[in-house]
């Protein structure tokens, strides 16, 4: 009797373990070409199948699903599974986890230059310029200049840039006019002067109201304040960090911090949590990306007609026409961990999508993100779209004046340091610009030397 019990319970335990294992295996399920052949059904005849991860953004996901569907119609032997990159805790962490678990897709978008550097140093992505057809695609898509900044330190091209948001500063023209200013301020002294006039007219308002100014651990916010102003102050001539070296122009960096300090001393900054500060007119000046426009259209339909988009202001000694800005740009990579046959299939798909300007137009229509092409502002294929969306044309026109993020894999540490040692203490009036720049420079050099 006891033996029977042992057997019965043993069987129960085995079933339990098996169920558990199956459940766990299911979590990491992934389509491969061999699975495709074995599972039959819709993918029975697929010669190759691969996964593509789109950005965790419904419009981008929709675009890629549509493209994959069309491509599969024309290439019935290819099966593409498009899904969004899991956003939690972050798309980079999701990709990291997938690579660690050996379940990375064949290709994914939403890759910025710095994360590409991390992936490259981890030998996780393949150089696209070594795959047949790269040069032809660069020529067909007219992106010779746009791809240049994406070259990584070994001289190879690991990322195919998709879009480039040349960030702008927006001015509330209604507030400026009410304060007696008719033209958008372009230099630091003009900006401070405008701020003082707005403050005199509306003591409760600020020139620049943004919680991001006071946050150090949101490392990416430095792209939209310090680095945007730095790119403008140097006219794009001197990078801030090049590879693993701090090559920043001391004069320009100090001028940017002094500008922020002057704004703070004149009570023109509000680094606090406020609901839609620019949209509600609490602040007159803000960083604007193309993603803001659909929200404005929906929530603040009259706002756009009151806003003038410009490149960042420059120090008084710099010609405003030389102003540059930060490029919030992202692209596609192909992962090294998938079989070569999937890499090739993914590349063919990418080539197919970007060889046709109509697909870039479709991308622009669906996502509002300007394609990373040299001719985005001038190509007749996009003319009608930009005629109907003139604000977006500003972003497209600024693409040649935009500087992408640094290609250092320590970007999070470095930009956190910029916030902790430089921007945040200056904005809160805790450090003078000279001390802030000295501390920031030293901390950056120490971090880069590690």
């Amino acid at each position: 009797m006891n033996k029977i019990n042992v057997k019965r319970y043993g069987a129960f335990l085995l079933v339990l373990l098996m169920g558990f294992s199956i459940a766990l295996t299911g979590c990491g399920a992934k389509i491969t070409s061999s699975d495709a052949k074995a599972t039959g059904g819709t993918i029975e005849n697929s010669a190759v199948s691969f996964e593509f991860w789109s950005a965790p953004n419904p419009t981008q996901d929709k675009f890629w699903k549509g493209m994959a569907e069309e491509y599969m119609k024309q290439n019935p032997n290819v099966k593409i599974k498009v899904s969004s990159i899991p956003e939690k805790p972050s798309s980079e962490a999701a990709i990291q986890a997938a690579i660690a678990a050996k379940s990375a897709p064949a290709a994914s978008e939403n890759i910025m230059r710095s994360f590409a550097a991390t992936l490259y140093q981890s030998k996780a992505i393949v150089p696209l310029n070594k795959i047949d057809g790269w040069d032809k695609l660069v020529e067909t898509r007219k992106m010779a200049d746009s791809v240049k900044p994406w070259k990584l330190s070994d001289g190879n091209q690991y990322v195919m840039p998709i879009y480039n948001n040349a960030m702008q500063f927006g001015w509330r023209m209604d507030l400026l006019k009410e304060a007696g200013i008719t033209e958008v301020p372009k230099t630091y002294s003009q900006v401070i002067e405008a701020g003082k006039k707005i403050k005199a007219k509306y003591p409760d308002k600020f020139l620049w109201a943004s919680q991001d100014l006071g946050r150090a651990d949101d490392w990416w916010t430095r792209w939209f304040d310090f680095l945007m102003l730095y790119d403008a102050a140097t006219g794009g001539k001197t990078d801030f960090i090049e590879g693993t070296k701090l090559v920043a122009d001391d004069k320009a960096a100090l001028e940017v911090l002094t500008f922020l300090s002057e704004l703070q001393k004149n009570n023109l900054l509000l680094p606090s949590q406020a609901t839609d500060p620019f949209e509600t007119g609490l602040g007159a000046f803000a960083t604007v990306g193309p993603w803001s426009l659909p929200t404005w259209k929906e929530k603040y339909p009259d706002l756009l007609s009151n806003v003038e988009l410009t490149l960042p202001p420059v120090p008084d000694s710099v010609n405003p026409a030389d102003s540059k800005t930060f490029a919030d740009a992202k692209g596609i990579v192909i992962y090294a961990s998938v079989p070569e046959e999937q890499q090739k299939a993914a590349w063919e798909f990418i080539k197919w999508v970007f060889s046709n300007p109509d697909n870039d137009l479709k991308w622009l229509q669906e996502t509002n993100l300007p394609p990373a092409r040299d001719d985005t502002a001038t190509n007749p294929a996009f003319k009608d779209f930009f005629d109907q969306n003139p604000a977006l044309k500003k972003f497209a026109e600024a693409i040649p004046n935009s500087i992408p993020p640094m290609d250092n894999d320590k970007i999070v540490d470095l930009q956190t340091i910029m916030g902790r040692e430089g921007v945040v203490p200056v904005v809160n009036g805790q450090k003078d610009p000279e001390t802030a720049w000295k501390d920031m420079k030293k901390a950056l050099q120490d971090a880069l030397a590690k």
Partner: protein
């Protein structure tokens, strides 16, 4: 033979929990311990062993030092306020002649509310341009709630206290209901006032409930994440920077799995040691009243 059968049955019944523990606790802990001695980013095929460097850098880093202090800072605010609030509210509900359960459910609701939703509401209510702040400024009080060295931790502490006291009310109520009425009657006959009754009867008799709350709350102070992440990102400075924020930023933003694991191990040791000390102190207090 019978003993053997019983043993097997025991293992079988315990097996779901054991399997769960092995898969979701033991294996990850071993993995984390391995990561702590490497600088591996979990993607590179090259793994460099760095011995105890991750622990040394973590101990020296201002963010870990801040997390250490911030946990105790939150404990100093949240533990007494949670105890006072939950005991006070529970006594109030317990003294109601009727509809006790309706109030109990009402007070329990904050515990069921999503932490993210609460944080977003607080963010809106205390925003610079909210009605509350516009009114406060009109009477000369200007507070930057999310960028202030004193008010930001207080806002976060308030949110946690509000949520958890809702849950602890249930524990206290069950403790209050287990105190025999005769003891109160005897005290009344002896002429004890309500203040004396509260300190000499209610509080000591609530020891098991209070002990549970003290231990749960103390442990929770080392796991705070959502509130500071959503409201202050650990700021201003490192004023609300918690262990979990440090682990999150290092693991998922800096992608430094080894360093984040080292911080997690240090956090676990600090949590364990702190809870152990608090447990001993609480037991010592209980022994004074004859518990245990």
């Amino acid at each position: 033979m019978k003993d053997k059968s019983i043993t097997i049955k025991g293992w079988l019944f315990a097996s779901p929990y054991l399997i769960y523990t092995v898969v979701f606790f033991l294996i990850p802990v071993i993995g984390a311990l391995f990561l702590t001695v490497t600088d591996w980013n979990m993607m590179s095929p090259d793994i460099k062993f760095v011995n105890l460097d991750n622990f040394i850098s973590a101990v020296k880093s201002p963010e870990v030092q801040a997390a250490f202090i911030v946990s105790y800072k939150f404990m100093a605010i949240i533990l007494p306020t949670t105890l006072i609030l939950s005991v006070g509210q529970a006594m109030l509900i317990n003294s109601l002649p009727k509809y006790k359960n309706v109030f109990l459910v009402g007070y329990f609701l904050p515990y069921l509310a999503s932490g993210v939703a609460i944080a977003l509401v607080i963010k809106g209510v205390l925003a610079y341009n909210s009605v509350v702040n516009v009114w406060l400024r009109s009477i000369g009080i200007a507070i930057d709630w999310f960028n202030h060295p004193i008010f930001t931790p207080l806002v976060i502490a308030f949110m946690i206290t509000w949520k958890f006291s809702a849950y602890y009310i249930l524990i206290i109520i069950s403790g209050l209901e287990s105190i025999p009425k005769e003891i109160y009657e005897a005290a009344k006959i002896d002429g004890a006032k309500s203040w004396t009754t509260f300190w000499k009867i209610t509080v000591p008799m609530l020891y098991p409930a209070l002990y549970t709350i003290v231990i749960l709350t103390s442990g929770w102070m080392f796991s705070i994440f959502g509130e500071p992440y959503l409201l202050s990102r650990g700021g201003p400075g490192y004023g609300t920077y918690t262990w979990q924020l440090s682990i999150y930023f290092n693991a998922f933003q800096r992608l430094s799995a080894g360093y984040a694991s080292a911080v997690a191990i240090i956090a676990a040791i600090v949590t364990f040691a702190s809870v152990l000390i608090i447990k001993r102190l609480a037991r010592g207090w209980g022994r004074k009243y004859g518990w245990e």
